[in-house]
């Protein structure tokens, strides 16, 4: 899903860079408000975990593989704005490994960060509420939202290609191919996301941002010492 240098023209790449920079600036402010200082190591861990799992390409069809993006996973664990920052850190580090073009960094932050975490968390929230807000609802909603987020990111690439591509390839054809293969990859994304959220929920439900209050133990009030 990482766009390399050259796929998308300079204008669209710069445009995406501006949008992404704005989105990351908002994410910094919002995460500062919603993420308690105590959770900084947890958010760092989520970023490191996403980096690791993004290396684990799984086969999806003949001669094609896919890997986790992790936007919805991070959003359910640490909140959508902190998730945008997690994915931005991951994509920045990956650039050192020559994965994802430097001129395409804005495009990749937009597609794999902002457009998975924010709409993905919205979908997660709606699904979780519809399913009754229990522990199973959290896991199922995370999985389904994660699957859909991959399709959203794939569609975003096609839109960017339509704006900043060479134009010799039929857009409808690219859209069909991208959505088809990323639906399969999205199923893998959904399974990994559901399993990971389920595992963290069973150990420390209080640390899952997307778990409703009812699924978390009551907060205890401690006096300052």
């Amino acid at each position: 899903m990482h766009i390399p240098d050259g796929f998308i023209g300079a204008g669209a790449s710069i445009g995406a860079g501006v949008v992404s920079a704005g989105g990351v600036a908002v994410a910094l402010r919002q995460a500062a408000r919603t993420l308690s200082e105590r959770l900084a190591p947890l958010a760092g861990l989520v970023a490191a975990f996403v980096f690791a799992v993004q290396m684990l390409n799984f086969p999806v069809a003949a001669g094609t593989s896919g890997h986790l993006i992790g936007g919805v996973l991070a959003a359910v664990l640490v909140g959508p704005w902190a998730a945008v920052l997690c994915l931005t850190v991951v994509l920045g580090v990956q650039a050192l490994f020559a994965d994802g073009g430097l001129t395409a960094l804005g495009l990749n932050v937009l597609n794999m960060g902002l457009l998975t975490a924010l709409p993905g968390y919205g979908l997660f929230f709606v699904l979780r509420s519809a399913l009754g807000n229990g522990r199973t609802a959290v896991v199922a909603a995370a999985g389904v939202a994660a699957t859909l987020s991959v399709v959203i990111a794939a569609a975003a690439f096609v839109a960017e290609y339509a704006i900043g591509g060479a134009g010799e390839v039929d857009i409808a054809t690219v859209l069909k191919a991208m959505v088809a293969v990323h639906t399969l990859i999205g199923i893998g994304e959904g399974v990994i996301t559901a399993l990971t959220v389920g595992a963290v929920l069973s150990v420390r439900p209080d640390l899952v941002y997307g778990a409703p209050a009812a699924a978390r133990p009551a907060l205890e009030i401690r006096t300052a010492t």
Binding site: L28, P41, V174
Partner: protein
């Protein structure tokens, strides 16, 4: 929380260090579509393609799996470090009126 972070980091290091050398090396969905539809011809060489860890392989390490695993561990540790620094620094952006 300290144990969760330490345990989680160990899991991430194990996945990147031990499992990633066995991951599929087939092109991913985007690369596949780009190759099939002639978009891939537009690709330019990555500015950091000479990086000592380009393509998730530590240069100079003979064994391919070892080179990939080492690159994975380096990446996980670096990502964790940058993440903790960034999220720790968010304190500076926090409104001062917040209680707790």
């Amino acid at each position: 929380m300290r144990y969760l972070v330490a345990g989680g980091l160990l899991v991430a290091i194990a996945l990147a260090g031990l499992l990633s050398p066995y991951a599929s090396s087939q092109p991913d969905g985007l690369e596949r579509v780009a190759t099939d539809h002639g978009i891939a011809e537009r690709e330019r060489e990555h500015a950091l393609s000479r990086s000592p860890v380009a393509d998730y392989a530590v240069r100079g390490v003979e064994d391919d799996r070892m080179a990939t695993g080492l690159a994975g561990v380096l990446g996980v540790v670096l990502t964790f470090g940058v993440g903790v620094l960034l999220f720790g620094a968010l304190k500076a952006l926090r409104p001062r009126t917040e209680d707790g």
